[in-house]
Symmetry: C2
DNA sequence: TAGTGGTCTAGACCACATA
DNA sequence: ATGTGGTCTAGACCACTAG
């Protein structure tokens, strides 16, 4: 009679979903405050404690940010503090460095079978492919290809990439209203091919860290696929397990 | 007048610390149930809701495991379910594979400056160094060196390693009462040296994923340092950001 | 001083596991 | 039927921010 799904959805989970729907629909923009807990409680006809539990869950997922005495805010990639949530590359010595991004290419293409599967598209659907190089302190360290659904990122161009200051996720947020919430990555060690070696100023065959990423927005909708190749002699990929 | 530390510690945080101290002191063993929320509330002279919040925090850190209708249990590395919390290597196709561990070496040594720093020891303190190979489905895939404080793991031997079934963290838990809670890792791509290449049946210079790990027990005490080299043609290192 | 999130309590009731 | 964790509520008070 009963499947694997829960037999009922707790009230605070329903409230959480309502808040996410509001965020997804643009009711509250990144960086802005959402209504107070009591106001949301009144709106949804539940107690403030139930709203609190829903907001707690979203804060734990870094979707919302609580600030005592001020309010609860929609997380944004435009803050320095959030900058390193999706950037795990760290210099061997010293603090997380600044990086400069240079996009060498931004073209239209058709989704490969693989890209279509990962981005939940149909093969042949329009995509935008960006190739860029990340440099830390002037030294090129990462070459990556980013694949995006053209329908979602209509109008994205090399000029826009060049004009934007800040992380590319901030650009997605500011220009297209797309919030990146989480990502899955697959890491491998590979040998640099000739083109990549040249771009990074390394010998062909140098071991590089291959990072394949699928990033998701609200509701676990995949909206970005990227494949990066990183030199890891001057930097390492930090990770925390637990 | 006031430093960066909080001006006070909420009651539920104090309760949380008391529970951790109990776990650290062995009051409740891995796999066992801790007392019910009401019993803990009575013992600590607080309300059940306050205990709940403390337990919630520990469950979020995977230190405790809640089971509705049954009780709250101390997490253990002896369960298949917890097996993959610290094992990120995944076969390209199919489900997470079984792996076999073969320790080729288990010797006493003196802590290097580096190991001493990472494990919070004094240089020259006694350590145990284990070298082992992990094989997935019969194919060697990982070579790693594990460094442990000798004082904490007194009596660890090649024989014990060979005799133990299950993960090495389960061995730490079962034989030495050491619970691994979390770990920090540094990942790099490196070229296989001659010895590692031979051990893995690969050509010298093959790109390998280098994984340096410091693992911590209760109270963020570092008790294990390991350095692994993994082939990543048949497997990848999975990671989730967000 | 007012408004927000943060803590703490107490009690009622629901869902689940076990006997 | 009983005991456990899980949800929901209501109210009081604390800590922080801003005007």
């Amino acid at each position: 009679m009963r499947g694997a799904a829960p037999t009922y959805l707790p009230l605070y989970r329903q409230i959480k979903d309502l808040i996410v729907r509001g965020l997804d629909g643009g009711a509250w923009k990144p960086g802005q405050a959402i209504p107070s807990e009591f106001e949301l409680a009144e709106r949804f006809r539940v107690s403030q404690g139930t709203v609190r539990k829903a907001v707690d869950a979203l804060a734990a997922e870094n979707v919302l940010v609580r600030r005592q005495g001020k309010g609860t805010y929609v997380a944004t990639h435009g803050e320095a503090r959030q900058q390193f949530r999706f950037l795990r590359l760290t210099p061997n010595e010293g603090a997380p460095a600044q990086y400069e991004s240079r996009a060498s290419e931004c073209r239209r293409a058709r989704a490969s079978v693989e890209a279509a599967r990962l981005l939940d598209l149909k093969p042949g659907d329009g995509v935008i492919v960006i190739r860029r190089v990340l440099a830390f302190g002037g030294t090129p360290a990462v070459v990556e290809d980013i694949t995006l659904p053209a329908a979602t990122f209509k109008g994205l161009s090399a000029a826009k990439l060049a004009a934007h200051r800040g992380s590319i996720y901030h650009l997605y947020e500011a220009e297209f209203g797309i919030q990146m919430i989480r990502a899955d990555e697959k890491l491998r060690a590979v040998a640099a091919d000739a083109a990549t070696a040249a771009a990074l100023g390394l010998a062909r065959g140098t071991p590089l860290l291959s990072v394949e990423r699928v990033a998701f927005t609200y509701g676990d909708r995949p909206v970005e696929y990227r494949h990066g190749l990183c030199r890891t002699d001057t930097h390492y990929y930090r990770n925390r397990l637990g």
